[in-house]
């Protein structure tokens, strides 16, 4: 295992410390329990937005703390959701008196720990509502499973809910906007290589030189199936088709297209994927009116990418366009 780290036990704390030093104009890092809050603290009268989860997905979530997006982020250990008594103080820090929305990615651990944290906060008299992001169409969603995972679509939820909070929506309103994004965003990913969790010390799965994993998540889990390496255009079609079909996209609709890198993929390759995803959407008569290409929801140094599509309407478009000032999204 080759990493630019000092010690698997301290990498998260040191990295977040460095993040705080580099972005002192945007965020404040509190070391124990480890949380990242917006510089200047909660905004009175604004709904507070909190997200968090296991580390290793940077810039998610700390990179999205700032004006127009999150008020606090809670970084867990690598790929391990944070604990309730780490999350609860983030709720308190984010509360400006209008209640707090927790944006939770759909993993058993995240859901349980955020649930418990919300109970703790509730006992302190704080109103916390939660939304659960579950955009990964690689995973079957049924009453009898853990449901779909939350992956790159999380960026869209955090950005747009953040804009709704910033424009002054109340807690019900922000929840409704977040739910609308969740209902209209879908993703699917591919891995060319595995990633290595520092404390595990070896790759999360073994993949031959000529095979790739389709339908991977963001925790180094193997995907749904393994196929021979193929040209980018073909792989992109394998990702985009289930996304478009699950969304039931029809001709004339407008969408945001996000091509997300898993951390170890060159930007140049992400644009090759973007080009084809866009052609395929246009082939379906779907208009791509907003785009984002880059490493936003990563899986350490994994090589691969995911394709996310969000169905847009005028409200979501305006909220996407609203100003944002964070370390990783800025306009």
């Amino acid at each position: 295992m080759k990493k630019l780290i000092n010690d698997p036990q301290s990498v998260v704390a040191e990295s977040v410390e460095g993040f705080g030093l580099a972005h002192a104009d945007l965020v404040e890092v509190h070391p124990a329990p480890l949380i990242v809050t917006r510089a200047g603290g909660a905004v009175t009268g604004k709904v507070g937005l909190v997200s968090g989860g296991g580390s290793g997905h940077e810039p998610l979530h700390a990179g999205f703390v700032g004006d127009g997006m999150l008020d606090a982020a809670v970084p867990g250990a690598m790929f391990t959701s944070p604990t309730p008594d780490q999350i609860a103080p983030a709720f308190t820090a984010a509360d400006g008196g209008a209640g707090v929305l927790a944006i939770v990615k759909n993993y058993t651990g995240d859901v349980l720990n955020f649930e418990t944290a919300a109970e703790l906060a509730d006992a302190e008299g704080l109103t916390v509502r939660s939304v659960v992001v579950n955009d990964d169409v690689a995973v079957e969603d049924s009453l009898y499973t853990a449901g779909r995972r939350g992956v790159a679509g999380t960026v869209a939820v955090e950005k747009i809910a953040g804009a709704a909070a910033a424009r002054g929506d109340d807690l019900d309103g922000v929840v409704a906007v977040a739910e609308k994004v969740i209902a209209n965003v879908r993703s699917m990913g591919v891995a060319l290589t595995a990633c290595t969790v520092p404390h595990a010390g070896k790759p999360s799965f073994d993949l031959p030189e000529d095979e790739i994993e389709i339908g991977i998540g963001i925790h180094g889990e193997p995907g749904r199936r393994r196929i021979p390496l193929a040209p980018a255009d073909e792989i992109t079609e394998l990702l985009l088709t289930p996304v478009a079909e699950d969304l039931g996209l029809t001709s004339g609709e407008q969408v945001l297209l996000l091509v997300n890198g898993m951390g170890g993929t060159p930007l140049s390759e992400l644009y090759v994927v973007y080009r084809q995803a866009r052609r395929l959407l246009e082939g379906r008569g779907v208009e791509v009116t907003r785009s984002l290409v880059g490493n936003y929801v990563t899986s350490l140094e994994m090589q691969g990418a995911s394709v996310t599509v969000l169905r847009l309407d005028d409200e979501l478009t305006a909220l996407w366009d609203a100003p944002v000032r964070t370390a990783a999204l800025h306009w």
């Binding site: 790929f79 720990n113 499973t145 853990a146 969790v197 749904r224």
Partner: protein, 216 residues
Amino acid sequence: MTGTLGAAWAVAWTRRTAQVVVEHREELIELDRQIGDGDHGENLARGFTAVLAKLDALDAEPEDVGAVLKLVATTLMSTVGGAAGPLYGTAYLRAAKVTALPALDSAAVVALLEAGLEGIVVRGKANPGEKTMVDAWTPAVEAAVAAADAGASPAGVLAAAAEAARGGAEATTPLVATKGRASYLGERSAGHQDPGATSTALILDAAATTAAEAAA
């Protein structure tokens, strides 16, 4: 009553668990690497190491079994994270509630195990056969009930539970996961033993071993 298990056993169980979990850290990581995200061993080692530190820092001996289990519960909740943190945390918390007793007889040991399982099911909503720690806890509770009914000592009850948990963990191998992270793999989750069921077997084995030592 002879053979009952008190706070000293609960401390011994907890210390043994910490030791065993650290010893099996890599094995649990490896199992979780196969069908999960490779952190289960790390998470439990971190959690139980914190529990040890808490035990060492205690001013006085804990009053009863429940006090020890409550300390374990709150420490796991605040240091483990992931799925296992809240699940084991709730298991220990529920178990603590029914063990605020200076000494556990066989029935009390059964109650402890039942409460633990109940905590996991309340939180995780998994049924048996979904390839989770429930698949180790469920046969353990059943075996404990049967042993107690047959008049076994507390140590005997735990021995039966531990044995059944190990069998239950092994029996997860062919299952297709429908709960937890392994469920994302679908059919590909079959052929691997569940890490959480495996750690449950280790924890209950530590309970049985230390109970046998206490009885000896």
